[in-house]
């Protein structure tokens, strides 16, 4: 359970960005969360509220966009989804492939600010 420390890092990152822009009020944080990031969305959301307490982000929302896994399939010579995270095979042709090109994201992509 490391979601609280991840949530605190998000708050820290967002606060820094706000400070750099003269202390704008942040209403929402947009996060891309990969299926292979090792972070659980529900746990992160409840931790986020806690991490925001007594910070300029109190009352802000964390908007999570979940990102599914894409691999490079050598057979199709293209990026493809996998059958599941328990079965890393190309969803088109069934070739096993472990070359992950998407799905490890843990990234703040945007902030919604009020001016």
């Amino acid at each position: 359970m490391h979601e609280l420390s991840i949530a605190m890092s998000i708050v820290e990152l967002a606060t820094e960005e706000s400070d750099r822009r003269g202390g704008v009020q942040i209403k929402a944080v947009h996060l891309r969360l990969g299926q292979l990031s090792g972070v659980v969305k529900a746990a992160l959301l409840s931790s986020y509220e806690m991490a925001c307490e007594d910070t300029p982000l109190a009352g802000s929302q964390l908007l999570v966009e979940e990102v599914s896994v894409l691999v490079f399939c050598p057979e199709c010579n293209a990026q493809r989804p996998v059958h599941s995270t328990q079965m890393f095979t190309c969803s088109e042709c069934g070739t096993p492939t472990g070359e992950v090109v998407q799905g490890k994201e843990l990234m703040v992509v945007a902030l919604e600010v009020e001016e």
Binding site: G38, M107, V109
Partner: protein, 227 residues
């Protein structure tokens, strides 16, 4: 006037601080010529036992050292010190995983230039360590035969963050009716092409093969570094 809401693009990794420190560590390890191997597993899969065996044997032919992470005690460092290799304990307190900055702090004052191998034992946990790059060259994930063959399916993320899977306590295979074929199938399902080695720290089965494997990976890394 009503407040206006607008979007600011940020695009920053949440763990950017860890990533930056891990990159610095990787460069430092590279410059010093030390090959860094980390171990992750659930609690009790045999990380410390394997490390004790590995350090004891490697210590005879190479210069080896270890960092060992644990929540509360220094017992593991005491166990590993019997190998006569230099060992430092990282007590993480309530933190359930190692982060790159903890490695950096633990290495303060340590001359890495004198080392061939540095082993880093993570906290026993199959979830959280997956998110944190420690600057290592090779990450080993251990699963013991007593844990069941479906561990990779339950924890695909950690298997995906690792380079090599070690099946430990292989001497108990018959006793616990461990289904090797199923285990291999499950590992390959979540990480196609992953190297799998079987070891027993108790009976020494597979240990020589593991040491040869580590030596060859280290030689490979050095060849790339000097080319």
């Amino acid at each position: 006037m009503n407040p206006v809401t607008r979007m600011i693009e940020v695009r920053q990794n949440v763990l950017k601080h860890n990533d930056v420190v891990a990159r610095e560590l990787r460069q430092r390890f590279h410059d010093a010529g030390v090959f860094v191997v980390s171990l992750v597993s659930s609690p009790g899969a045999g990380k410390t036992a394997l490390l004790e065996k590995t350090l004891t044997l490697l210590h005879k032919q190479s210069r080896v050292a270890a960092l060992v992470g644990d929540l509360a005690t220094e017992n593991d460092a005491a166990r590993l010190a019997r190998s006569e290799a230099p060992v430092r304990q990282i007590v993480t307190g309530t933190v359930c995983h190692l982060e790159a900055a903890m490695i950096q702090t633990a290495l303060e004052g340590w001359n890495l230039n004198g080392l061939d191998f540095l082993f880093v034992e993570n906290v026993g946990n199959l979830v959280c360590p997956a998110s944190y790059d420690l600057g290592e060259d090779l990450r080993l994930v251990l699963m013991s035969v007593t844990e069941g063959e479906d561990k990779p399916l339950k924890y695909p993320t950690i298997f995906n963050s690792a380079d090599v899977a070690l099946i430990t306590k292989i001497d108990l295979k018959e006793a616990v009716e461990f289904d090797s074929a199923a285990a291999y199938r499950n590992i390959q399902a979540v990480r196609p092409g992953m190297t799998i080695l079987e070891v027993s720290s108790k009976s020494n089965l597979g240990i020589i093969e593991l040491l040869e494997f580590l030596n060859s990976r280290r030689a490979g890394a050095r060849a790339v570094a000097s080319s």
